[in-house]
Amino acid sequence: MSTVYIMWLRQMIRYFRSPPRIVAALAQPLLYMLAFGYGFGAIYRMAGQGSYLSFLAPGILGMSILFTSIFSGMELIWDRQFGFLKETLAAPVSRITVMLGRTAGGATVATFQAAIVLALAMLLGFRPQSWLMLPGTLVVMFVVALMFTTLGTWFAALLSDFQGFQMIMNFLVMPMFFLSGAMFPLDHVPRELQFIARCDPLSYGIDAFRTLLLGTSHFGLLLDAAVLVGVTTLFMLGASRAFSRIEA
């Protein structure tokens, strides 16, 4: 337990020590909300769908978590290149606890970052259906963050440098975001796209956010929760296996 805590603490110290990074990570979600939220707002309203910003905000929340989490997970590659990873790999503690601490730390950072995004969305005019849903939303945010931090850690454990990073971003992370229903409702899109969205774990996270914050749901909260917990567990198993096999 102390190992999980100390590895978590390390992530916290590093995160709060670099305010520029905190601000930089807010730029993209803010840009999306401004450009798309306001840009498509008029058309969306004309189509009789209400406020696009309200619809988009939970999607941007998902995007922020996805990017921050994957990146936090893949920080492992830095630690490998700068050498600190060895220090943890040779330590007389179970590697699983090292990994759990790292991912919990990364997920906390991503959740915190997304909470700022949520606050920004509210500044721009987003209103949740009920403030009572915020604690529940935070819990789901953490689960989604944990899921993707673990995935990032899994990738990083298999790669030894950043050469594969761009590939993962372009062929996995970006599609995961764009095809998740973050930007558009999944109800009326072509069946092929709907099928892809169904295979994308982020879809369920964003759907859960919308259910809690807006009261509209595509999959239903129960399915969302089941998929999120299931996929997170699966990623945990894969990442633990890969992490415990890392050589230095």
Partner: protein, 274 residues
């Protein structure tokens, strides 16, 4: 002798150990043993296989073939139990440079299970010992190479394991710190019976501190014994002369950057294939 196979007095027992990276054989069928409480030096030119061997002994690399017993345990099977037995100072950097010196020490203390009682005092003692106490709240990022090295040494000495590995610990270290470090290690060896396994390029350091040495070259052990025995075997006056007689005069490729990076790439490919 065959009666010595399960020798309880051996801290480290290595038999027919081999490590290949692709076509490159870094460690080629070596066997040796280190007694409990012994100070043992591993000598060899750059790229001879010293670090690779140490990494296999410390569960960081899996051997291609051969067997290892450390404190009676097999690193490939009881990795965690083996890790509880040793401490290590790495050859290449292993600090978190976005943390302060003190934070690096504290994380190590927690990870390596240094008893909470007296931990702070010990950290202070060691940081004073390497002359970094006044800089304890400085981020490692701002440290010079020598300061980082001293911090790594202090950190490695924070917990007292049964066997301590030091991979070229004194590389880039000033003579003052080097002497202090050895005084500390000798004390630990005497008081707690700690086995010390170190690699070095400084023959004089090995001659002065090691009870036994092994010379490794091209992944093979070419000489082993007490410093006096190794010198005698080559009719050499100094260990340096004996070393050069054993390993030749040609300069080896730098191990630190290029070869390591190549290995990383190879390892990455192997991982991906898995």
């Amino acid at each position: 002798m065959s009666t010595e196979t399960a020798d309880a007095s051996a801290m480290i027992e290595v038999a027919d150990l081999t490590k290949k990276f692709g076509d490159f054989t870094a460690v080629d069928n070596i066997s040796f043993s280190v007694k409990r409480g012994e100070i043992f030096a591993f000598l060899g030119p750059n790229g001879a296989g010293k670090s690779t061997t140490i990494k296999m002994l410390t569960t960081l690399l899996r051997p291609t073939s051969g067997s290892i017993r450390l404190n009676g345990l097999d690193p490939t099977k009881d990795a965690l139990a083996v890790r509880r037995s040793f401490g290590i100072v790495f050859q290449d950097p292993s600090l978190d440079d976005q943390l302060t010196a003190l934070e690096n020490m504290e994380i190590h203390g927690a990870l390596y299970k240094v008893p909470a009682k007296g931990r702070r005092e010990k950290i202070e003692d060691l940081l004073r010992f390497v002359d970094l106490w006044d800089r304890r709240k400085t981020m490692v990022q701002k440290f010079s190479g020598g300061m980082r090295r001293r911090l790594e040494i202090a950190r490695g000495l924070l917990h007292h394991p049964t066997v301590i590995f030091l991979d070229e610990p004194t590389l880039g270290l000033d003579p003052q710190t080097r002497n202090q470090m050895w005084a500390y290690l000798q004390q630990m060896n005497k008081d707690e019976g700690t086995t010390v396994f170190f690699s070095t390029h400084y023959m004089e350091e090995a001659d002065r501190n090691a009870q036994r040495i092994a010379v490794i070259d091209h992944g093979k052990i070419v000489a082993m014994g007490s410093p006096a025995e190794v010198k005698a075997s080559q009719n050499a006056a100094t260990l340096e002369d004996a070393f050069l007689a054993l390993t030749g005069h040609s300069i080896r490729e730098e191990e630190g950057s290029s070869a390591d990076r190549m290995r990383t790439v190879i390892r990455g490919m192997q991982n991906r294939r898995r």
